[in-house]
Symmetry: C3
Subunit: 169 residues, 3 copies
């Protein structure tokens, strides 16, 4: 193979990888935006980490957060808890995910990536408002043709967090 | 052809299709963001549906909305009406379209896709503010190398809609 | 080569080019979002133009703005000045860049492109808020495998600009 063909294959590989990650985000966000909470744990491997934490904790490497789950079973418990306890004000949340950056990939099927997220909340009788802005720091694992989350750290830049944020990010 | 080559071609096809849809959105938004209203109907086939409706109506399958047009001629009438009647406060609107999901495509040249949109309004002497957040549910038809809208349902999650929203979404 | 192969190569070229531009935006935004100001001039060629201006000036072709730099050395001076003088309120800014449009490319390695940007500001004890919304009008120059900015015009639609905007866009 000549250099051009190899370069094109590498470029195609990068393209395909970012496409996969972007597709993942779009599917993940859609499930949450529609309120299909029961489908949310399906985006994670069984032995996963899901965390929501502030930028200060992230930058300092502190393994804490306002939410920390270390298995898919814990995510399922969380879905159950939200459904039992949440008072549903008539509101919806929409995710806007952009600036996707694939930071590494390995043949073993692991991909690390980052993206910016913006959560827009719609409440009755109000203009839409910004609920949260931050970054996803992700480690994906490929299972068959799908990417699944091995680790997702939702790092919010927002310095105050809405108490209404019982919902996954 | 071996399986790898076929897989790569399929992946390239998916990539190319999402690229096309994203290009469409970028071009469509640019025309509206610049205020080039007269060019807006050119993104639709003649026999099209364009609708703006709330999430509740969409979820319930109700064929109503705050705006319903079922031909390009109606869109052109609308452009004419806006130009005649709108009081132009010095404002601009910017579209932010993300989370593009191609949901199906057929050889016949039809593509269905979804995306999230965020409209940001800029008025004089105020901070920018969120005007509307929602989803596009689209059916595109390929004409030559271009995609055109066969059906666009702009489904807003926003529960109150600004009266200033005489402008296309 | 048959027409299909040529068409596919052109499509792959367009894909690769938009990927490059999107990667550029993601990297550029990340540096600013993290506050790594010293790395910011590295995204520009030495003999560059960087400008922040309002839509009215842009539309009228007036070569003015609230900020105008015409070399990388000026950007470096600016970074130095911000570091010396800025009172850092505990705040962060996140970029959301979307609707990327490659408008032209030449074999000589020059690419022109546009994109919408949204700056979200996070201040302590407040909800996140929109700081600025607008468009990048860019001319890139390829150096090796990297794109660098030859000209970046940050055109804000926002009609009032926060005085806190001493920071690059």
């Amino acid at each position: 193979m000549d250099a051009d063909v190899i370069a094109r294959d590498i470029a195609a590989g990068r393209l395909a990888l970012r496409l996969d990650v972007e597709d993942f985000h779009a599917g993940y966000a859609q499930v949450l935006d529609r309120g299909d909470l029961a489908d949310w744990p399906g985006f994670f491997v069984e032995n996963c980490v899901y965390r929501i934490t502030g930028r200060e904790n992230w930058d300092a490497g502190r393994p804490i957060g306002i939410l920390y789950c270390d298995s898919r079973a814990m995510l399922e418990d969380r879905v159950f808890a939200i459904r039992k306890t949440a008072m549903y004000a008539p509101r919806t949340v929409l995710h806007f995910i952009s600036n996707v950056r694939v930071t590494s990939s390995a043949d073993a099927g692991t991909v690390t990536a980052e993206a910016n997220f913006l959560l827009v909340e719609n409440l009755i009788d109000r203009n839409p408002r910004l609920l949260m802005a931050g970054c996803y720091f992700d480690r994906f694992q490929r299972e068959g043709t799908r990417l699944l989350i091995k680790e997702r750290h939702c790092v919010y830049d927002t310095l105050t967090v809405q108490t209404s944020l019982v919902y996954p990010v």
